[in-house]
Every structure is written in structure tokens, then in C-alpha cells.
């Protein structure tokens, strides 16, 4: 796999469970994000998408153990743990979270916290830092004079904008946004998505959008990676994923999503994801799959390229390849 800007190589994350045992939350994820690219990391709760994002930032809790590589511009920043992560966190790779409630300290003004971030990273001090804060807020559509306000005086959308401004303080090349619009109203969501779109376009920022919301990814991203039970089951352009999905989970996930002008009712996927505290034999989606066959319950499919820049982890693609005329 070529380097790209940021990639993971066979990333694994385990969590120690309080009553003993381990939860294998991320199971060998290899992702690549190119400069200026917009990649959606999609999946349902518990699939490991947020854990993957936190691993990229080196922000996993102490109960987690990590294996594999996180390669930023050719350097494995996971290799030296905190030592090699710290210089890049917020500087090259920054992150915004759902709701942005916890991004700010409630007893300090929004502006002073961005000034603090700038000073902490040696980007600017004193008057310069205050001027830069005004510029950062302006770049996300917040009037400069709002810097003197407290977080609770901001609406949900404004708070998310301010969190994005703070994440951009050190001019990172990658922004990870974890469910950035999930708690917001649809009109405010549209404003934030427009902002993220403009930031990618104007500053060449690469975006990793972590979300359960397929339509948001379909509209904003170039490519998407679909996660299920801790692993990537399909990745490709958003157009291919919608029009030519090569994994039943991707197809069923789109079919389960209501669309404004679609025909008929969305259809749910029966069953529930497997537990991740025990080893899975075979394909993790097999119990819920509408096209499972004999091989699926004991032979775990690997993510394989089936067309240029389109990969899926499903035995059906082997069947299709064998059946195709040579």
C-alpha cells in the first residue's frame, strides 16, 4: 500500500474488561488517507470506528492495548507510543468530537481557550495569539467579538464551529471529525458540513469523517470505509459503495437507511453484531447475512481488492470471480 498522508497498517486495539478477558475492538484495520481527501469511516455503534479514530490520535484510554502501525508521512508514530505520538497530536492530526460539549472548559471564554492552545503549542503568544484566535474563529464563520463569550452562550452549532476552529489552531493536515453533526438539527448540520467542505477545498485539509450516517458520507466524502465487528468489510468510492456494493452489509446498510425520495420502506437487518470478547470463526456478518453459504461459517474472508481502489471482505466475490469468463 502506498504511503498516502496518514495510514494504518494492520491496526489492532484490545480493551481489558473489568471482569477479566479482552474485547478485540479493532481487528486488523488498514486504512489510507491521501492529502486533501475526504474519507468516511462508517458503521454502527460498537463497530470500532471511534476506537480507530482515537488510536490515530493516540488518545486511547489506559485499558487499551494497541498493535500495528499508524504511519504519518512515512513515519510510524505508533512505534514509540506517547513519545512519538505527542509531537503530531493537534499539530498534524487534530480531532473534533460529537456535540463539542466537552471540547471547552465551561468557566473560561472560548477565545481564551484557543489562545491557550496556540501558546501551548508555541504557535503564537499574547497579542499575536489573540489576533490569530480572531482569524481562526472568522475562518469557521464566528464573528471575532464572540471570542469573549463563554461556551454556554454558544448554540450547539456555534460550539461545534468553535471546536473546529480550535482543532485548526496548529494548521493540521488531517482533521478527524467523530460524529460532528449527530446532535445537531438538520439545518445546522448542513451549515457544519458546508464548513467542513470549504475547509477541505480551501486549505487542502484531509478529512476522516467518522459517522453512522451514510447519507452524510455519500454527500460529503470521496471514499468510504465500512466497518463491522472491528474490521473493514468494504472500502471504495462512495459512488461504488452505493451503486455496486461488494459486501452484503454495505448493501443492507443502505437499504436500511430511509431516503427522502426513495421508493418503499427501509428494511432492517435482522440480528445483532457478534460479541467481540471471543474469537470469531468465519465471517463476522454471516449470522445476519442474506447471502451466506457453507464456506462463510468457518472461513473468515479477507479484505481483497476486487476492482481498482475497491476492496471487500466477502467470499461471494471469489464465487463471482470464478464464474466470470476468463
Amino acid at each position: 500500500m502506498t504511503d498516502g498522508l496518514l495510514r494504518t497498517e494492520d491496526l489492532h486495539v484490545w480493551f481489558d474488561l473489568p471482569r477479566g478477558g479482552m474485547l478485540h475492538a479493532v481487528q486488523g484495520v488498514s486504512l489510507r488517507l491521501d492529502p486533501g481527501e475526504r474519507l468516511g469511516l462508517v458503521g454502527e455503534s460498537g463497530c470500532g470506528k471511534t476506537t480507530t479514530a482515537l488510536a490515530l490520535m493516540g488518545l486511547l484510554p489506559p485499558s487499551a492495548s494497541v498493535a500495528g502501525q499508524v504511519v504519518l508521512s512515512g513515519e510510524d508514530i505508533l512505534a514509540g507510543a506517547e513519545e512519538t505520538m505527542r509531537p503530531h497530536r493537534w499539530v498534524d492530526v487534530a480531532m473534533v468530537f460529537q456535540g463539542a460539549m466537552n471540547a471547552f472548559n465551561p468557566v473560561k471564554t472560548v477565545g481564551s481557550q484557543i489562545v491557550e492552545a496556540l501558546e501551548l503549542h508555541g504557535r503564537a503568544t499574547g497579542r499575536d495569539a489573540r489576533i490569530r484566535t480572531g482569524e481562526l474563529l472568522a475562518s469557521v464563520g464566528i464573528p471575532k467579538d464572540r471570542a469573549e463569550r463563554y461556551p454556554h452562550e454558544f448554540s450547539g452549532g456555534m460550539r461545534q464551529r468553535a471546536a473546529i476552529a480550535m482543532a485548526l489552531a496548529c494548521e493540521p493536515s488531517v482533521l478527524i471529525a467523530d460524529e460532528p453533526t449527530t446532535a445537531l438539527d438538520v439545518m445546522v448540520q448542513a451549515q457544519i458540513l458546508e464548513l467542513l467542505d470549504a475547509l477541505c477545498r480551501d486549505f487542502g485539509l484531509a478529512l476522516l469523517l467518522v459517522t453512522h450516517d451514510l447519507p452524510v458520507v455519500a454527500q460529503l466524502c470521496d471514499r468510504a470505509a465500512v466497518m463491522y465487528a472491528g474490521e473493514l468489510v468494504e472500502q471504495g468510492s462512495v459512488d461504488e459503495l452505493f451503486h455496486e456494493p461488494r459486501h452484503p452489509y454495505t448493501r443492507l446498510l443502505f437499504a436500511a437507511t430511509a431516503d427522502l425520495h426513495g421508493n418503499g420502506l427501509p428494511v432492517s437487518i435482522p440480528g445483532a453484531p457478534p460479541r467481540l470478547d471471543r474469537e470469531i470463526d468465519g465471517c463476522p456478518f454471516q449470522p445476519r447475512c442474506d447471502r451466506a453459504f457453507s464456506r462463510c461459517d468457518h472461513d473468515r474472508p479477507l479484505l481483497r481488492e476486487i476492482a481498482p481502489a475497491h476492496a471487500a471482505a466477502c467470499h461471494l466475490n471469489d464465487v463471482a470471480a470464478e464464474a466470470a469468463p476468463r
Binding site: M187, D239, L253, S268
Partner: protein
Amino acid sequence: MSSNGAGPLLDVEGLVVRYPVPRGLVGGLLRRPRRSVLAVDDVSFAVERGELLALVGESGCGKTTTAQTVLRLVAATAGRVTFAGQDVTELSARRLRPLRRRMQIIYQDPYESLDPRLTVRAAVEEPLLIHHLGGSRAERRERVREALERVELTPPDLFLERYPHELSGGQRQRVAIAAGLVLEPELLVADEPVSMLDVSVRAGVLKLLDDLRDGGLGILMITHDLSTAARFADRIAVMYLGRIVEIGPAAEIIENPQHPYTRALLSVVPRRDPRDRTRPQILTGEAPDAARIPSGCRFHPRCPLAIEDCRTHDPELRRPGSARTAGHEAACILA
């Protein structure tokens, strides 16, 4: 008036809900005028038996307050709520109780609405005990099983003795619905019933509501999700700052919206197909504040089409010139 008369199951007329805003110590000492929030301002609609009406709008538009007033969890300041021919707004608490049984609510968060210490059996049986219904212990158990079967938690034996933490989100929401259904209500108020659930199980819960509707239940669904409303509602009412600004058959509202707010709202709904890249018409301006409702048409400060008259003229709901179906109304002088 007969309780099973020919009128609609639920009839809301001219509903107004005003909340006082605390002045705070300084405001009180300075004798500043008392402010109030007009959360619901002259709202009228009806829900028929076997109909699902979706009340859509952004947070703060008054949709949840409207629903709570229907159930009289919030008192109406003015207007009337009639349920099965009886005026709910005027009833004493004692006379309200038998009506309460007939209208049930399910909430957004099945993680909070179920008591973690109660088994599924106890959670579904509890409403029967509260309302002194269901007869003997054996009869109650039978009704609990029936309710679980109706929400497709089958076989019931598999679920009866489980606790909420042993269930998935979709299963919990089904238990919450079963606890509402066990009283055999005629009206179900569903406040964002699937927004906390994973995509793969949402459709199943919505299909269940759809089936219950087909079985004659009237459903008032509160949602901010227009895609869900488009697929599952018979009619849609769009609220903005305490008013219904447009109402009509779901397909008509989605395909032929007449109010500029409805059009803007629909334009920003992300579509599933990447090829359907929409041109979102993003409204700017501050989020509307129900304590400061603009003069004239309350949408005019954010409306891309507003003309001079809109500042002074507060438009009423009426049938727009280009409406294609009966029952389509919009509150816009340009529609």
C-alpha cells in the same frame, strides 16, 4: 358526545402554550417586565384512527411541547385538545386517568425510559398494575405475552426474565412500545422513537409502528428526520417557532412543498445516493428564539423570498395555489 363518535381520534384546536421565563434576582429587583416564551402559538391539527401524523421541525420549534400538551403532561395556555370526543384540557385529574390509558407515549431513549432493575415482564406488566387492569395474575401474564408478541419479541419466554442491559437498543425500544401497547391505547405519541437506535434496527421499529397504524392505532410521531417522515407518515406537519407553517399528505409535502421553510428544510436533507448531490439551500441567521418572535411572518428574517408585506402580515394556513392534493395548507402569502 360519544367517545367513539365520527370525529377524529385527536383534535387539537388553537393550542397555545406560554412559559414564563424566570427574571432572575436582578431582573426582579429592577422590576423588568416579565418575559415569556411562546412555545406553541395557535396550533391546530387532527389525527385520525389508523393514521400516522409526523410533526417535524428543528429543536425549539414546539413539536415536543405540542405532544406533551396533547397528553396533558404540560398545561395548555389556550386552545383545546379533544381526544375521542372528550376535552382533555378541562378534565380533572381523576377524570383524566381513564383517558391516559388510551393515549400512550414512547420516548426517544430506550436506555432511559426503562427501569434497569425491572425485568421485561415487570416493565410491561407495570402499566396494568398502575391502572388496576388485566384481572388476575395469570390474565396479566397472558396480556404481557401478547404485548411482547405484537412487538415481535418472540418467543416471549426468551425475553420475559431478561433485564434491559441484556437487550439491544432495538429490543429495548420494542419493550418500551410493548409497555405502551399492553394498555391497548388508541393513540400513541412517539417522540423521536428511533433517533437513538442503530441504522440497521431503525427500520424494524418503524415497520412495527407502521403495522400498528394499519391495525387502527392513531400515531403522532415527533421527529426531526424528514426522510423517516417521508417514508412512514400519512401526513406531515412542519413546525417553525411554535406554528405549523405547512401541513398535508406526506408525498405532497415532500414532492411539492410550498412554504419556503419546508423547501429549505428538504433541500438540506442528505440523500443516500452520492449522485443525488443536492444543492442545499442553507438558511443563515441565528437559531430562532421563541422568546423573541419576529413581527409579521415569523420566518421572514431568514426567508430568501421575503417581501415587504412579510414584515407586517402574519400569514394563516390556507390552501396554496399550486397544491395538488386536498388537505395541503401552507402559511405563506407567496404560496
